[in-house]
């Protein structure tokens, strides 16, 4: 019964997307994906997502560190706040960002209609990912390993670099992978702040939407399939990393 639900909802529709994308043949698929407009959105989406994943690796680890190792008043509130991007509807996230960084910005900064605006929106929605994968690992980390390193003469920084960080790497990578996948598929938050200027600030999901509206479902399906494949590869990679980490203990 569960399989029926799963098929009706997930498998068949997704299969249809892939099917549709190859409907007019392989070369048609390729040309759909490489139209100047489509290709520029793919480039922007992939590059922005990679950039966002990289920023999250640094900031996410830093935030996780501060939440676990530091203590200050209001910490519990910050802890809860991190999950806000999970709970907030993406369109609201877009509006929230445009309120501060858009044309009517109270601080006079305007990132609207620009690529940094896209990156900002993606950073917002992917904020929790690395933080939440790294936090539990940091909490479980054996403090005695750090004490042993200190007794052997290692400075705080060396201890971090050679003892703590290597143990965090699988969690960081898993979080980065999730960030990447999420950023690649993001729609709602970028729709407003980017202005969706073709060849400049349009991301792939917006492009797909436009193709659907223009009845070019095959073209839409082609780009969608490409994104699907990339996502699957990333998910699989994350899975492998997580299994490697478990085997190591």
């Amino acid at each position: 019964m569960a399989t029926l639900y799963l098929s009706v909802l997930v498998l068949i529709p997704l299969g249809a997307v892939v099917w549709r994308s190859r409907e007019d043949g392989w070369s048609a698929f390729w040309s759909d994906v490489t139209t100047p407009e489509a290709w520029s959105t793919i480039k922007l989406t992939v590059l922005a997502s990679l950039g966002v994943a990289a920023i999250n690796v640094v900031m996410g680890t830093l935030i996780a560190w501060v939440l676990v190792r530091d203590s200050f008043p209001g910490q519990r509130i910050v802890e809860v706040l991190i999950d806000l991007p999970f709970a907030l509807p993406t369109i609201v996230a877009g509006l929230v960002l445009i309120a501060l960084y858009g044309p009517d910005s109270p601080v006079g900064v305007s990132l609207a209609y620009s690529r940094p605006g896209v990156v900002l929106a993606l950073l917002f929605v992917t904020l929790p990912f690395v933080v939440r994968t790294v936090q539990p690992v940091l909490l479980e980390l054996d403090v005695e390993m750090e004490e042993a390193a200190a007794s052997l003469g290692a400075s705080r920084f060396t201890t971090f670099r050679r003892i703590i960080l290597p143990n965090l790497v699988p969690a960081i990578l898993a979080g980065a992978g999730l960030s990447f996948a999420r950023a690649m598929s993001e729609y709602g938050s970028t729709v407003l702040i980017s202005g969706n200027i073709p060849f400049r600030t349009q991301v792939s999901s917006v492009h797909i939407y436009n193709q659907i509206e223009n009845d070019n479902t095959t073209g839409a399906a082609a780009v969608a399939t490409l994104l699907l494949i990339v996502s699957l590869v990333v998910l699989f990679g994350i899975n492998l990393i997580e299994r490697w980490a478990v085997n190591r203990d």
């Binding site: 054996d142 005695e144 390993m145 004490e147 042993a148 390193a149 200190a150 007794s151 052997l152 003469g153 290692a154 400075s155 060396t158 050679r162 003892i163 290597p166 143990n167 190591r248 203990d249």
Partner: protein
């Protein structure tokens, strides 16, 4: 390298872990800090290592004050109860770590690591991960790692606490032999009195944040300073409100001066030794005696017998004449 501990006090919130503790650990000795859990012995060890900062008092190594130094600069080797192995590095890299920090040349590191792994009989495991080793092997690796940087003092915090009874006994013997070979001033913490008696040159009994007594295993056994030390090290039973060792109680067929009337409850024969459980004036007492004595007196459950402490029985509080004991500075 002697260790001089002077007036150390350490509190965790309201809890006083160490209360004005002073003692001196002689160079080259293998000293045990023995006591019940929560008594302060681990805290004292960590204060020596610099892993805890005392609220009061000082720590010095051969006259050099180390109280303000972080653990990195004290050159002490520390071995943890749960090994604290660097799980993402191989055994060889673990042992090499301290040397790599000190930027020794690669050839020297390799040579030293090999030497140490041979010392602890782990040469075959050089490239394995700690997770592939047994508990006992991991602890030997931890020891090799601590010794690699030639520390002036070696500190072990309940090093065998996480291991099986059999492995514990083996490693105990092995530690003693290692110390005889290397002669580094060594201090180890344990709550197991058998372990302390077996391995240490001197024992420091610590309870409730204070030093109860210091001496060799024999000293402590034969001349315990108080009831606590007496009952902590070695078997005790209570006769007429006084603590006495079960093997120091005489069994007599009939009443004699100083003896008490007793009813036998149970006789347990354990090979050569026989254990007799008695009721004296409503209290439980047990006596350790030989099979021969028990047979001679014809003891059995339910029969009446007389008991009294032997004339030369060990009693708490008799001052020992040994010059090794430093005066106990209690709070």
């Amino acid at each position: 390298m002697t260790i001089e501990i002077t007036n150390i006090t350490k509190r965790f919130g309201d809890f006083v872990a160490l209360d004005n503790v002073s003692l001196e650990i002689p160079d080259g000795d293998l000293t045990a800090l023995l006591g019940p859990s929560g008594g302060g012995k681990s805290t004292l060890l960590r204060v020596i290592a610099g892993l805890e900062t005392p609220d009061d008092g000082s720590v010095a190594f051969s006259g050099e004050d180390a109280t303000g130094l972080p653990p990195q600069r004290r050159n002490v080797g520390f071995v943890f109860q749960h090994y604290a192995a660097f799980k993402h590095m191989s055994v060889a890299r673990n042992v090499a770590f301290g040397l790599e920090i000190r930027k020794r040349p690669k050839a020297e590191i390799e040579r030293r690591v090999k030497e140490l792994l041979e010392l602890v009989h782990l040469e075959a495991f050089a490239h394995r991960r700690p997770s592939q080793l047994s508990g006992g092997q991991r602890q030997r690796m931890a020891l090799a790692r601590a010794l690699a940087v030639e520390p002036r003092v070696l500190l072990l915090d309940e090093p065998f606490g996480a291991l099986d009874a059999q492995v514990r006994k083996e490693l105990r013997v092995w530690l003693r032999r290692l110390h005889d070979e290397i002669h580094v001033t060594t201090v180890f913490v344990t709550h197991d009195q058998e372990e302390a008696m077996d391995v240490a040159d001197r024992i420091v009994v610590i309870a409730n944040g204070r030093v109860e007594q210091i001496g060799s295993p024999d000293d402590l056994y034969e001349h315990p300073a108080n009831d606590f030390v007496m009952s902590f090290l070695g078997p005790v039973t209570s006769l007429n409100g006084q603590l006495v060792r079960p093997h120091d109680i005489e069994l007599l067929a009939g009443p004699e001066p100083g003896s008490a009337h007793a009813t036998v409850v149970r006789v347990v024969r354990l090979g050569f030794e026989t254990r007799v459980e008695l009721l004296v004036d409503g209290s439980d007492v047990w006596v350790q005696t030989t099979k021969e004595t028990a047979d001679r007196l014809g003891i059995d459950a339910g029969c009446t017998i007389h008991v009294r402490p032997a004339a030369d029985a060990i009693r708490p509080g008799q001052r020992q004449p040994s010059p090794l004991a430093s005066p106990v500075a209690v709070g």
